[in-house]
């Protein structure tokens, strides 16, 4: 199996890495998070229009470079290394992915706006009662003439305060947890009847509770594909956060090793203590597993649905577990300074912890893997 990246992919990585090294140092990130909008919009603009990176995972007919999941993986890994809060996951992986798969006029109109950096998409799928069940949906989309009327409440919608568009899951029919009747809609974020309660998240992003009250939307807002499309897009997103986790885990290992070489206690660098050496070796081993599973998941995204789901769940469960090990031990090995806001390591730990639960906990994914892989 050839696992090497081609030249273009290598360049993509290098371009983004160099740009992020200049823009995402600890102090700059801190300033962004503390600003009123919680971000620096100029960075996204630069990634899209100056560096032209947003075109990487899109087809040439949409103005893209013809890449896909591998390109997303590379980008997410680099974002993870600096714990960037850019909306690549929501806009490019999820929004762009849904449009790519569904095709049609909406894709033709919106993908170029994603590539240019003008469109930012937030994914409104979770509901307060639903935990990780994508079909547990109370938000309704009632047919009304040629269009629909949306009503409901979506919880913890990452990037919603920044979004120009919302990608919303809603029910056109069926009972609360029925797979049939769940559909995906892409709508402008400022449609009348949409209200938000915005807040920061513990891992540095902004998110919202989003409420829909008799929101009239056109029929063309529907992306055909139903729950199957939604699951496919969420699997792609899940693998993308595994890639982000890979960047985070590696960085936590590196920072921990560096710190222990400098921190002295008992007259020597604490890196000299064998318990810490072995622990850091274990952290390194686990970080390698994260990278391997991010790659495995990415490579299986184009398999049939059952194989894809099993692979993605296995990847995410393993990533969750390894990331927890790396994160907890990174903090422990730093001692007191690790649990303060003053050093980067704690901020990596916070984002890593949120990834553990994002798109499903370890238990959720092991459960899904078992259900798909072993006879009942």
């Amino acid at each position: 199996m050839d696992l090497s990246y081609n030249e273009t992919q290598g360049m993509l990585r290098e371009t983004l890495a160099r740009f992020l090294a200049d823009t995402y140092d600890f102090e700059s990130r801190k300033k962004m998070l503390a600003s009123p909008t919680g971000r620096d919009p100029g960075i996204w603009k630069a990634i899209a229009s100056e560096l032209g990176l947003t075109c990487a995972p899109f087809a040439e007919e949409h103005g893209g470079m013809g890449g896909g999941a591998i390109e997303n993986m590379i980008m997410m890994e680099e974002f993870g290394k600096v714990i960037a809060i850019e909306p690549w996951l929501q806009t490019v992986v999820i929004g762009g992915g849904a449009l790519k798969h569904a095709g049609g006029a909406l894709a033709e109109a919106t993908i170029p706006a994603i590539i240019s950096g003008d469109a930012i998409i937030a994914f409104a799928y979770a509901e307060p009662q639903g935990r990780y069940n994508l079909a547990d949906i109370g938000t309704t989309a009632k047919a009304d003439g040629a269009g629909y009327v949306l009503n409901g409440h979506k919880g913890v919608v990452y990037a919603a305060p920044w979004a120009t568009h919302l990608l919303v899951t809603a029910r056109t029919g069926g009972g609360r947890r029925d797979r049939a009747g769940v559909e995906l809609f892409l709508i402008e974020a400022n449609r009348p009847g949409i209200t938000r309660r915005d807040y920061p998240t513990v891992d540095g992003f902004m998110a919202s509770e989003v409420y829909f009250e008799n929101v009239a939307i056109p029929g063309e807002a529907l992306l055909t594909g139903g729950i199957d499309l939604i699951e496919r897009v969420v699997d792609e997103a899940t693998v993308a956060v595994c890639a982000e986790a890979s960047g985070i885990a590696r960085t936590m290992v590196n920072q921990t090793v560096e710190y222990t070489k400098q921190r002295k206690q008992f007259g020597q660098p604490i890196a000299k203590f064998q318990v810490l050496q072995h622990r850091m070796s274990d952290m390194f081993v686990e970080a390698e597993q994260v990278s391997s599973m991010a790659l495995m998941g990415t490579l299986k995204l184009d398999e049939d649905a059952a194989a894809r789901k099993a692979a993605v769940s296995m990847a995410k469960a393993k990533v969750g577990r390894s990331l927890k090990f790396v994160g907890q031990n990174a903090i422990q090995t730093h001692g007191g300074i690790g649990i303060t806001m003053e050093l980067g390591i704690g901020h990596y730990f916070k984002r890593g912890t949120m990834i553990e639960g994002q798109f499903g906990s370890i238990d959720h994914h092991l459960d899904r893997f078992e259900a798909l892989s072993y006879p009942a």
């Binding site: 919880g155 513990v202 206690q265 007191g336 003053e342 639960g357 238990d363 092991l366």
Partner: protein, 308 residues
């Protein structure tokens, strides 16, 4: 606050002069005085004995200069008990004294350190020519390490936190009974339920280990190196409880609720308990670090108990 009642209280009670006992113990008991612990320094964490904050005699006072860090609740404390170096020329442990310092003394500056959950509970404490009456020294000059070690053993017993962990597990069961996972309570989810049961199991083992330690104490054996067992297991259990609570919160672990601002009547996002879960999980990583890290505790068991 355990710093008065279960930490400096026993030290004064055991090593203090009659005057010190009369002055401090009643106000510790009544809760009139809040205390903080000035042990750790930027360069002296696990290696506490390497501390450099120095106290030099000037008539009937010590003049104290240096920096402490991680001082819990120093921003609210009336008094602090400090380890200071009174003799730099002897073996590290033999030149340390134990001082009681009024936190309002001129020359003391307390600066906040913000921890991962956004809390202000620890501080840096700067001491610049702080004058402390010699009568506020507990036990002999240069013999403070004896008090320090005595106190650390007490701190480690307190750190087992059995009662708090029991409440924590009850709270999780309560949450998991109302929080739904599909059409069943979360507590019916076999994976979640098993983790709660394992926690109860480990907590029970800890509880009986503590009871055995206390029985030994009642029979005249002070809390010795065995308290390291309590510290290790107790701190790990506290961490697992917060981990499980965060898991229960699902998506609603993510919102960061800054608290009720002035004129802000907004309720937290999601279930009313959920917004605390992530900050607690982050914050409670401290339990395996403070009070002598768990690595240091394992070192103590290896050396003092196993004789290695």
């Amino acid at each position: 606050m355990p710093f008065g009642l279960s930490m400096v209280g026993p030290v004064i009670y055991t090593f203090g002069t009659p005057e010190q006992k009369a002055k401090f113990l009643p106000r510790i008991l009544s809760g009139d005085d809040w205390w903080c612990q000035g042990y750790s320094e930027p360069g002296a964490g696990s290696d506490l004995a390497s501390l450099r904050t120095k106290a030099e005699r000037d008539g009937d006072h010590y003049v104290v200069n240096g920096q402490k860090t991680w001082t819990t609740m120093a921003q609210h404390a009336d008094w602090g008990f400090f380890l200071v170096r009174t003799n730099p020329d002897v073996k590290q442990q033999e030149g340390i004294s134990f001082l009681l310092i009024d936190m309002k003394t001129p020359g003391i500056e307390v600066r906040p350190i913000i921890t991962l959950g956004g809390e202000h509970e620890v501080n840096e404490v700067f001491l610049d020519n702080v004058r402390v009456p010699i009568e506020n020294r507990v036990y002999e000059e240069d013999k403070g390490w004896t008090c320090a070690k005595f106190l650390l053993a007490h701190e480690r017993t307190g750190i087992a936190g059995v009662a708090g962990s029991k409440r924590g597990i009850e709270k999780i069961k309560e949450i998991a009974t109302t929080e739904m996972d599909g059409d069943k309570p979360l507590l019916s989810n076999p994976f979640f339920r098993r983790k709660v049961a394992e926690l109860e199991m480990d907590l029970t083992a800890l509880e009986y280990t503590e009871l055995r330690t206390l029985a030994g104490e009642a029979a005249g054996k002070g809390p010795g190196p065995e308290s390291s067992v309590l510290k290790i297991k107790g701190s790990e259990i506290q961490q697992r409880i917060t981990e499980l609570a965060l898991e229960a919160a699902g998506h609603y672990g993510a919102p960061y609720f800054r608290g009720f601002g002035e004129g802000d009547n907004e309720h937290p996002i999601g279930p009313d308990w959920a917004h605390r879960t992530a900050p607690s999980y982050f914050n409670v990583r401290k339990t395996t670090i403070y009070g002598g890290s768990n690595e240091v505790q394992r070192g103590i068991i290896a050396k003092m108990v196993l004789g290695l």
